[in-house]
Amino acid sequence: MNYWPLLGVAVIVIGFALRFNAVPVVVVAALVSGLLAGLSVADLLALLGNSFVSQRMLLLFVLTLPAIGLLERAGLREHAQRWMARLQNLTLARLLIGYLLLRQLLATMGLTGVAGAAQTVRPLLAPMGEAAAQKILPELDQDDREELRAVAAATDNIGRFFGEDVFIALGAVLLIQAFYTQHGIELSPLAIALWALPTAVAAFVIQSVRIWLYQRRLQRRAARRERGA
């Protein structure tokens, strides 16, 4: 066994830990691993080029930018905030937990591309969340706003991840099934997907509780400030 290609992993760990620019770190790690594994320079370049262009779908989100940019210029975020401020019963926790549920259900049906950081979080969920947080604590500073946006993005990720595994025709389940088939164990996709349900429920409960705790933290800060003032 040739252990030298593991140095590529070391390059990644050190580069990310020292917060170097991630793009050259990743490319250097690929070159180090490939060369230490004995690939020729020509093969390595071809492998790098081929695998890069075969992943082009990962940049698809940039196509949302013109529409989102135009709407933001016309006041989309300002409108989302004003609208949230008027909805009395829609608290921050209800907004985020409702989004989590919707995102998870859509992913369960295999519809992962429907929502996302570019499609829904930046234009809609984040500004609405900021407005909902402002109803609790009117003087949000920059750190608070960024933390809130991060919580919104985290909620989006968790809803997607722990919903998509339940969908029988999507990557994860098919990958598991294919692995077992290769090794002589026959399983139906449904038999695998069903066992993803307990974690899907657990993930929903855990993230909902964390959202609720986050809202309570804001409420306590608001109460303290009122008493102090």
């Binding site: 946006r149 990720n157 968790i158 990557g171 307990p198």
Partner: protein, 322 residues
């Protein structure tokens, strides 16, 4: 017929436009970065077709292009372009347009949803409107175009203003946009270099696996750790299953395959929430939401990931050896 390749050409055109605008504004490094990336996108089909036909030269040139991008990336400063309109102007426009602004924004998920659900039925004679493969993503690209046209109509702004705004946002995201592709490519290089097999061998050689619970813990933690390193649970799964899951847990300790597979994969998903290597979920959203801390999203989901992992592992431990 609409295919995913059309979306790639659209992306290439947008990247080249962004490069050209940066060139005109005198930001040479930004211009070079987006133009090289745009050329890689535009030539992608040709590169893959030539590789399949046995001609490696275009792929090798693409590899050099990737290295060029790596050299250019550190020179891109996060230049926040000034917003074209003041906050008061935007607020004024928000009051004037009201709920009409939501329409185009909701068109993006809505059209994507419709294409994903019904795209396959849109057949005129022998002519299918959407190609079967990657239909949802093709739908997303179409949705973006429709949303842009609708947005231009609602805001009574010419479409090219929208493309210019898009370029402003793209410059704000900068090199972070590239990371998902690069990390996926790195995963393939790691696989070809035998990094996964080496780690699995170290794990099985040095860790206690005689006891069923200990082996299960090594398997679950291995899924997390491996996903953190590779940025993708799909890369970790076959390695950990072949190293520990199949020979030890299933064949020796009689673990239930469906439970082990499904819950083992979900342990890996917890790792995805923790790692900058999963750039498309963790770093790109941070850039897109203009967080100063690139690891802000990971920080926000770390405790959720740990609790979800703990509950999944507990359930797996209780169920898998029945």
């Amino acid at each position: 017929m609409l295919r995913i390749e059309h979306a790639y050409w659209l992306i290439a055109a947008f990247l080249l436009y962004s490069g050209w605008r940066n060139l005109r504004d005198g930001h040479r490094w930004h211009a070079a970065f987006w133009i090289v990336l745009g050329l890689l996108f535009g030539a992608g089909d040709f590169i893959l077709a030539q590789s399949a036909a046995g001609n490696a030269l275009p792929a090798q040139i693409a590899g050099i292009g990737v290295i060029a991008l790596a050299c250019l990336a550190p020179r891109l400063r996060r230049q926040a372009h000034p917003e074209n309109r003041s906050a008061e102007q935007r607020l004024q426009s928000a009051i004037e347009l009201g709920h009409r602004l939501f329409g185009p924004a909701l068109l993006i998920p809505l059209v994507t949803l419709l294409v994903a659900l019904f795209g396959g039925y849109l057949v005129i004679g022998q002519f299918a409107l959407f190609a079967q493969s990657q239909m949802t993503l093709t739908g997303l690209a179409l949705a973006c175009v429709i949303a842009l046209l609708a947005a231009a109509r609602v805001a009574r702004t010419p479409v090219h203003e929208g493309v210019a705004e898009g370029r402003r946002l793209l410059d704000a995201i900068g090199w972070a946009a590239l990371l998902p592709l690069l990390l996926a490519a790195l995963g393939q290089v790691f696989t070809r270099s035998g990094v996964g097999a080496a780690i699995a061998e170290i794990a099985t050689d040095f860790l206690p696996t005689g006891n069923a619970t200990a082996a299960l813990a090594v398997f679950a933690l291995g899924m997390v750790l491996f996903t953190v390193i590779m940025g993708n649970a799909f890369a970790a799964f076959p390695v950990m299953m072949a190293g520990i899951g199949l020979p030890l847990l299933i064949q020796q300790h009689g673990a239930h395959p469906a439970i082990l597979g499904a819950m083992g994969m979900l342990c890996g998903y917890c790792g995805t929430l923790l790692t900058p290597m999963a750039a498309d979920f963790n770093l790109v959203p941070a850039a897109l939401l203009e967080l100063r801390n690139p690891y802000g999203v990971i920080k926000a989901q770390a405790w959720s990931a740990l609790w979800i992992f703990a509950s999944t592992f507990t359930m797996m431990w209780l169920l898998v050896f029945r």
